[in-house]
Symmetry: C2
Subunit: 508 residues, 2 copies
């Protein structure tokens, strides 16, 4: 009797002391023993270039994932593919008697890379270990042949956090369960997409073709960063995303800026004036109707938003900025509105390559983030209507001679594939409570509950084709340079991510 | 007696028939025999990379020119050099009994290159022969091992027109004189600069150190294009030139445009807004006092300006543009005003490299062209005052943490070396009349007389240090893509340039 009482007491004490459940301790012990193996595999995975359009390398990534899944005795492993587009890799673990199914999703493709912009000594697909982040004066060090790994160390590579870390966390969480003889209570499905950063253009086709296989009570999305406070978060929605590609035309050939400066229109100036017309001093988009259509937050979402820890001062300090764009709005408030962002612009040359010319064109890529209520086609059209209202003739091809001759202001507007709308899962969904409890069991710090994250994922496809809600549990460090040069993951976040995923796989 | 009368009559008839003097016919015959040799030498010259900062290759260019001059028995050949900066190459031909000296100037360095922007199959320092210009569907063809050369053919390479063509025209004009046993009546001096496209930063030092050697009654500048009508022109002035390099700062690290879009300031948008604030709809610069200081044209200059052939319609057609920048002004009028031109801007990535980020910086290079009355320091300051008036904190270095923390809008403004003011030589200078007559003797078409060209040359240095006026006789085709990708020279222009230079060397 005493022993029976003592054991729960001891467990409770342990949990109070360390803030984690005994199951999490088991997962952690396994990981500590396996660090070298996990890192070796992760580094080999990161060394495979993973831009979605690079089909040869994408296939190598898919093969690599397939092997990782087979090594872990995951069943029914198969590549789900539409034409020659990047395959999604599926696998499952069926639990006898289980009534519910939970799916685990991550993506293995990464954003396009411009190697020239990466820090000296870094290359997107040559993973490197650093003692800390670059802004924190991290120094490179060779990968040790056997641990220990300091959890503050970081691996730099494209996909290190977005989202190969998700694949690695999910598959090692399952490995940790089996190594500890822990049986999940749910059926578990795995899906690793290879086209997310290209807008998940064929994910809908894959869902349609395999809707039975992919059915689940809930899909758990492992992507994105934890909260800026370092606390783990559960995210119930994503913004939608859409792009517009603008090219403004100047003279047919580049002109000497002396001989023609003042007379020939400069496309860089024309584009600057057009872009400038889209925002005002207080960071509001001035395009007509841009903020219409926004669906208000529910009471429970609005409450969650109010309860979010403020990170504005921390982020301003960390990012070295004294002001923000939408004056008067916090970061949490700002991401609950649609946005218009210049991903990049270019015309002529700059720096040591600058020459005294009037360039022939100027180009910019804009991304539009959408919130619930926005429709991506409507939102794009608002931008195009604005451009037209500024006197521009909008075309969707290189200008013909006739167009050049008649249109004083000529702009090519392209709408790349891959747009999708925002999605939000109700925060009071029963499965949400279980996932919250599971993730909470891995950490003494209270979870952050986000009605939506600022980033985008094609989660509407899960609703539309699989009738499945989604809940996102991000694991990466927030300062991971996701989508840009010098992408990285802090090892502590990968370790902790494995624990989060394992806890969800073990939930009751 | 009859024979004495007949000969001038015959010469007059010949000249009327072909529009060129007998001397020009001699020069032309020599050139026709020498085409293969001239082209071979020119192509070897163009194959030497010639960006002023590339000191190793610049030295090879200087050595090449020195050899060309020695091969032509030009005397006192020497390299004039300040420190390790690009040398100017000097040489002279002293004419016994000559009372006057005329100098011939060209430059051998070229604008910086971005090989990626050149047309497929073209590389800045691999000269290629084409049947016509690229916009006219010119096709590549191998350099023949012996002529004939179609005068419509073009050579594509950096420096092909700006300004290695000037060096080649001057040196072959002199070679044609000596081959025909023609003695110049003037002392002739030669100077080939290697730092013009970098702003002639050390030309003043060279002039000061060698002012005796370089003294001349007039310096003849062979640079720039002939008139857009194809007529030869004499140019009496140049615009000044000055640059400003702007870098606007966003977050310290690139941010995911979803997670931070709306909240973090986007440096590309901030820079677009700043640039847009500098011009209005009718193409006028809105910077306070920008058009102050402009010295009005003299009566003779104003008359020359009125008499210039209009090329606006031709150029709009040729360049494929339906509108121009300064509404209501002709090209000739527009280049008689100071200008502000964006040479290039860049932020983040575009096209297939675009990624969903908020970039860390945006940068632009602006060039300011100046007219008589403008002072480059004052003109730069007007721009900087404007930037400040828009709420920006102007710094001249990468921002410190403290600056980032306190300045809501932070911009680095650099003023690269190489600025200089405009210059104009009086159109009624006696030497001008002789040069006009000499150039007119080479062509049946009336010359175009330009009070100023739109481009810039450091001609004020000749006035300041050598007390020499300058007169510019350009030779390149106007559609030469000077300063940009796909620079080229039409052979007819090179041939005709040799005739112009020779005529000036032969003038009475």
């Amino acid at each position: 009797m005493k022993r029976i009482l003592l054991l729960p007491l001891l467990l409770l004490l342990l949990r109070t002391a360390f803030g984690q459940s005994p199951e999490t301790q088991k997962i952690r012990s396994w990981r500590q023993q396996q660090e070298q193996t996990i890192i070796n595999e992760f580094v080999s995975f990161l060394a495979l270039p993973n831009v979605a359009s690079d089909s040869g390398n994408i296939q190598k990534n898919a093969d690599f994932i397939e092997k990782m899944m087979r090594d872990r005795n995951i069943g029914n492993v198969q590549l789900l593919q539409t034409g020659r587009y990047p395959p999604a890799i599926y696998g499952e673990v069926l639990t006898p008697g289980a009534k519910e199914t939970i799916g685990f999703y991550a993506h293995y493709d990464g954003q396009p890379v411009n190697p020239a912009q990466w820090a000296e000594g870094l290359s997107p697909f040559s993973p490197e270990l650093f003692t800390a982040s670059l802004p924190d004066q991290g120094k490179p060090l060779p990968f040790p042949s056997s641990g220990p790994y300091n959890p503050q160390w970081r691996i730099y590579a494209r996909g290190a956090s977005d989202d190969k870390a998700g694949v690695i966390a999910i598959l090692n969480a399952y490995a940790a369960l089996t190594a500890n003889g822990i049986k999940p209570r749910y059926n578990i499905k795995f899906l690793f997409e290879g086209e997310e950063e290209a807008g998940s253009i064929h994910l809908g086709d894959i869902f349609q073709a395999h809707s039975g296989l992919l059915r689940a009570g809930c899909w758990l999305i492992c992507d994105g960063p934890v909260h800026q406070t370092g606390r783990k978060q559960i995210v119930f929605g994503v913004r939608g995303d859409s792009h517009i590609d603008l090219t403004v035309y100047g003279p047919r050939r580049p002109l000497h800026s002396g001989h023609y400066g003042n007379w020939a229109n400069n496309p860089a100036m024309l584009l600057a004036r057009l872009l400038a017309s889209m925002k005002n001093d207080s960071g509001r988009v001035t395009i007509k109707g841009f903020y219409d259509d926004v669906k208000p937050l529910s009471a429970i979402e609005a409450k969650a938003l109010r309860e979010l820890p403020s990170v504005d001062d921390q982020m301003k300090e960390e990012l070295g900025v004294a002001s923000t764009e939408m004056k008067g709005l916090s970061l949490s408030e700002a991401i609950n509105l649609p946005s218009l962002n210049i991903n990049g612009f270019q015309s002529g040359n700059v720096g040591s390559q600058a020459s005294n010319q009037i360039p022939t064109y100027a180009t910019a890529v804009i991304d539009l983030r959408l919130v619930l209520g926005n429709d991506w086609k409507r939102q794009q059209q608002k931008v195009i209507d604005h451009i037209t209202s500024q006197g521009w003739t909008v075309i969707d091809h290189e200008p013909t001679d006739a167009e050049r001759k008649t249109a004083p202001l000529l702009i090519k507007v392209l709408r790349p594939a891959g747009s999708y709308n925002a999605q939000r899962t109700p925060m009071d969904l029963p499965m949400a409570g279980k996932i919250r409890a599971a993730v909470q069991s891995t950490t003494p710090d209270p979870l952050v509950l986000q009605p939506t994250m600022g980033g985008s994922l094609p989660l509407y496809l899960f609703e539309q084709y699989l009738q499945s809600p989604t809940i996102t549990v991000p694991i990466a460090n927030h300062d991971n340079n996701q989508h840009a040069e010098n992408e990285n993951i802090r090892l502590a976040n990968l370790w902790s991510g494995i624990e989060s995923m394992a806890a969800i796989m073990m939930m009751k």
